[in-house]
């Protein structure tokens, strides 16, 4: 082992090759797409070549005020995320606490998690109007079920011996919850919140696109209506980039929350 290799932590050395492989795969896929489109196998008026999309990225960022739109989407996601965290965790706790409520509602919540809620946007438009509230509520409702279900799962999975330790120290009900049940369930709860936030982001951008209002989703809809295909794909790439960054950040927080096993 060389000195340079010895200085790199083992984990970092292990991560380098998969990351490089992932990057090379993406570049290779883009190159293949470029040749296929330029070769005429795919109509370039339907799918523009990646090189044009990359060129359009700068134009979209500068001329279409992408950061302002990003902030609008981020604010909607943040509000929807905060709401689904608070309501989802509180509902999950209540359902874990009251078994009748859990038995009555858990299947419904699981069904909602599997339903394509985005098709309900006309109803939300009627109830809340064509404004940010509709978008936020769509994100909130879509992200709620995983937060509820994972909270119930985390609390139910708390090892009985930890609860008995609490009892042996004569913990009161609230102490038992805050000092044992909740911290024991927190890693699983966060998985639910992370899934909820991802669902919320998908639905926020999707609703923006459908009602042409707000941030990044509306930008994609605008560009598509103008038949600026390179710009449309550039904006889609920007949304994907934001989603990836969001996912990585949430994963890091989750790892930080999860104790060493």
């Amino acid at each position: 082992m060389t000195d340079a290799a010895a200085r790199i932590p083992a984990g970092a050395r292990f991560d380098f090759w998969p990351r490089l492989f992932g990057l090379v795969t993406i570049c290779a896929a883009l190159l293949v797409a470029e040749f296929v489109i330029r070769g005429g196998l795919i109509n370039r008026f339907i799918v523009p070549p990646p090189s044009e999309v990359i060129q359009a990225l700068y134009r979209v960022v500068v001329q279409e005020h992408v950061f302002r739109r990003f902030l609008a989407t981020a604010a909607e996601c943040l509000i929807a995320g905060s709401m689904l965290t608070l309501v989802g965790v509180a509902t999950g706790v209540a359902m874990h606490r009251y078994k009748l409520l859990q038995q009555a509602c858990e299947t419904w919540v699981a069904s909602i998690a599997a339903a394509p809620l985005v098709i309900m946007y006309p109803l939300f438009l009627v109830v809340f109007g064509r404004n940010a509230l509709t978008i936020i509520m769509m994100g909130f409702i879509a992200g709620l079920p995983p937060a509820i279900l994972k909270t119930i799962e985390g609390l139910a999975a708390t090892r009985k011996v930890l609860v008995n330790v609490g009892k042996s120290f004569k913990l009161t009900g609230p102490q038992q919850f805050w000092k044992i049940l909740f911290p024991a369930a927190l890693p699983t709860i966060f998985v639910g919140v992370r899934l909820g936030l991802i669902f919320a982001l998908i639905n926020v951008v999707g609703t923006e696109f459908l009602i042409s209002y707000g941030g990044l989703g509306a930008l994609i809809a605008d560009l598509a209506e103008r038949y600026d295909l390179a710009g449309t794909y550039a904006a889609i790439c920007f949304v994907i980039l934001v989603s990836v960054l969001c996912f990585v950040l949430l994963e890091k927080i989750e790892r930080w929350l999860r104790p060493v096993d």
């Binding site: 009892k167 102490q175 024991a184 060493v260 096993d261």
Partner: protein
């Protein structure tokens, strides 16, 4: 076998009977168990698997209230977990989200001790169980034996009058078990800690105890109580002595019949799942 508790016993277990309803009908897990523990004494309860040892542990610890008879600590009847009884469980029971210091300081946090003071107290107990240098480690970074020592330190930090342990070293290998036995003995002798150990391990029981209560297989009754007249202070070196071997043989003699009965019962149960235990 009622006990009046008129001697200076710190713990009186009187006529405990525990019955469970099962699919195969009612089962008497513990039947008419009575004994006392004197202050500073180390008493072990030994018996084959299924003799109701852990049920008895839960009754004494106040975790199981569906029983007949009474448990008294210092004259006070135990009705739910009692502040004078500190419990160490068989399963790994450290809090994975707290480091060693915060785990051990847990009972001190509950009584509202200021942070600096409780950390100082926690460090005292961490040192006592021999985990100095691991104060900031999380349980996931420790071995099974070290985690059990964290649990022991956490219970000791609550300064219980009686330390109640349910097979705390059952999941550990024999060598670690002997060495941890040394540590428990050293702590017990240093603090004059009244200790009640539930175990199925004869060596462990003889190594540490002043008296050993031998239980029968289901229903769990007191078969006999053996006085262990080995010199103190003791260490694990005692296992090489002839007297130690005699005690082990004597207790095994008592237990063999019970363990065989338990094994036969389990075999019957496996062959005829319904009705074998009735």
């Amino acid at each position: 076998m009622p006990i009046d508790g008129s001697d200076n016993a710190i713990l009186v277990v009187n006529d405990i009977v525990v019955r469970f309803e099962t699919a195969e009908g009612p089962i008497t897990a513990v039947d008419d168990v009575s004994f006392t523990v004197r202050p500073g004494e180390f008493l072990s309860v030994i018996g084959p698997s299924g003799c109701g040892k852990s049920t008895l542990f839960n009754v004494i610890g106040g975790l199981l209230d569906q029983h007949q008879g009474a448990v008294r600590v210092g004259g006070e009847t135990v009705d739910g977990p009692h502040k004078s009884i500190g419990m160490v469980f068989q399963e790994e029971s450290t809090f994975p989200w707290r480091n060693v210091t915060d785990n051990v300081a847990f009972p001190l946090e509950l009584i509202g001790m200021p942070r600096e003071k409780r950390i100082e107290r926690a460090r005292h107990f961490i040192k006592l169980v021999g985990l100095e240098g691991f104060e900031n480690r999380y349980p996931g970074e420790l071995s099974g034996g070290m985690r059990q020592r964290v649990s022991l330190a956490r219970t000791l930090a609550s300064e219980p009058k009686i330390l109640l342990m349910d097979e705390p070293f059952a999941a550990l290998d024999e060598q670690t078990r002997l060495l941890l036995g040394d540590k428990v003995l050293q702590i017990q002798q240093e603090l004059q800690q009244t200790t009640l150990l539930i175990t199925h391990n004869i060596t462990e029981a003889v190594q540490m105890s002043d008296r050993i209560l031998v239980m029968t297989y289901r229903p769990g009754k007191v078969k006999r109580i053996v006085e262990i007249d080995l010199p103190r202070p003791r260490t694990s070196e005692i296992v090489t002595s002839a007297a130690f071997g005699r005690y082990v043989a004597e207790i095994w003699n008592d237990l063999r019949v019970e363990a065989s009965r338990g094994m036969r019962d389990e075999e019957q149960h496996a062959l005829h799942p319904r009705g074998a235990g009735a």
